[in-house]
């Protein structure tokens, strides 16, 4: 099974601190910061490094301020071997 590693970027200046993302995060990794943004809202920050990139937070965010990233270990496939004077070079592609 591929290991999923995710991450999010939050536009904290536009965050209104509604915490709906935190309530929907299955990893419980979001919480309100003690600090305020320039609008006077406590903004959401990540408090754990266990994001799986499930997009729950972004789906429920009313202000559309969360970008979600997800990286899976990619399978690779050998398609050719090229020989030259220094040795073999194997060409792989991601699939």
């Amino acid at each position: 099974m591929a290991k999923v590693k995710g991450d999010i970027l939050i536009d904290i200046e536009k965050c209104k601190g509604c915490e709906l993302c935190a309530a929907s995060c299955p990893q419980e990794s979001l919480e309100l910061s003690r600090k305020l943004n320039s609008k006077g809202y406590h903004y959401i920050v990540k408090i754990e490094d266990n994001c799986t990139g499930c997009t729950n937070c972004a789906l429920v965010c009313p202000d559309g301020i969360i970008k979600v990233y997800r990286k899976t270990k990619k399978k690779t496939e050998k398609i050719a071997t090229i020989s030259n004077v220094t040795g073999d070079i194997t060409v792989m592609v991601n699939s």
């Binding site: 970027l9 536009d11 904290i12 601190g17 929907s24 990540k46 789906l59 965010c61």
Partner: protein, 278 residues
């Protein structure tokens, strides 16, 4: 707790892993093009923001930005035309479905939707709502039901629940004085002119996905020219319900959903319970 700090140039929280996975090839969710990148004026936690985003996403996925005209209501979402990068008209209070009728009748091959709150659609606009549905105009009507009047400061709506407090029902809605909450969606689902009628919510990821599917249907069914699509989104109004957003969603699940149950009221042409075609 590992609190993140922000840099001054980008107002984004930093990533903590050894190598950043926040690259374009790993991007799985981002703001869609038709949703204009500008702060929205809605209260924290208000469902309007999600509803607008879903409509924008559907328009972009179907590639119909150049063929869609929306009609905004009077209510909190009166400024919807500032958030959606499509041609839009701002209609008088209650009349969005009539304006949408006018547009669709003269531009029958375009995608037309109206977007209204509970006062707009089920109080002042009831006549237009019923007749637009009855005529079976090939449009999508989006009905944002939060059981209260938002923009004007929290008065009772036709869909306010019995016992629910508002500025005009300070002791809770009384049936003897104001009648029962109006299930307008159930009423119009009976009309043969309504091809598709469903009730969704945007309070959880599962519901957001279902709501998006409903809106997608509402646009796609216009191509069939078989009648009107009606999508009710039951949502919260944290400010006027006087609750924090997370709490308001919980209250909604416990109180609004039992009275306004989510699900299809009419799937293409048929009332599911009746089991008969129209």
């Amino acid at each position: 707790m590992n609190e993140k700090t922000m840099t001054e140039e980008q107002h984004f929280a930093d990533v903590i892993t050894e190598e950043s996975i926040c690259t374009n090839e790993n991007l799985v969710f981002d703001r869609t093009e038709t949703l204009i990148d500008t702060p929205m004026h809605y209260c924290p936690g208000c469902g309007h923001g999600v509803a607008h985003r879903l409509i924008a996403e559907v328009i972009d996925e179907l590639g119909i930005q150049d063929k869609t005209i929306g009609v905004a209501p009077v209510g909190c979402s009166v400024f919807m035309y500032n958030y959606m990068n499509i041609d839009m008209t701002e209609a008088p209070h209650g009349r969005a479905s009539a304006a949408a009728t006018g547009i669709k009748r003269v531009l029958p091959d375009k995608y037309v939707f109206s977007y209204q709150g509970d006062g707009d659609l089920a109080a002042i606009g009831t006549g237009e709502t019923i007749h637009t549905c009855n005529r079976g105009e090939n449009i999508l009507m989006v009905f944002i039901n939060n059981g209260i009047y938002g923009m004007t400061g929290g008065q009772m709506a036709p869909t306010t629940l019995v016992g629910m407090k508002s500025t005009t029902t300070p002791f809770g809605r009384e049936v003897e004085v104001m009648g029962n909450p109006l299930k307008i969606t159930e009423l119009i689902a009976q009309l043969p002119g309504v091809y598709y009628c469903t009730r969704v919510a945007v309070n959880s990821p599962v519901n957001v996905r279902k709501a998006k599917k409903a809106i997608l249907n509402g646009f796609k069914y216009q191509e069939l020219k078989k009648g009107l699509s009606f999508v009710e989104i039951v949502t919260n109004c944290p400010s006027n319900w006087k609750m924090a957003p997370v709490e308001s969603n919980k209250w909604m699940e416990e109180n609004m959903f039992p009275f306004y149950p989510l699900g299809d009221l009419k799937i293409p042409g048929n009332l599911p319970k009746a089991g008969k075609g129209e």
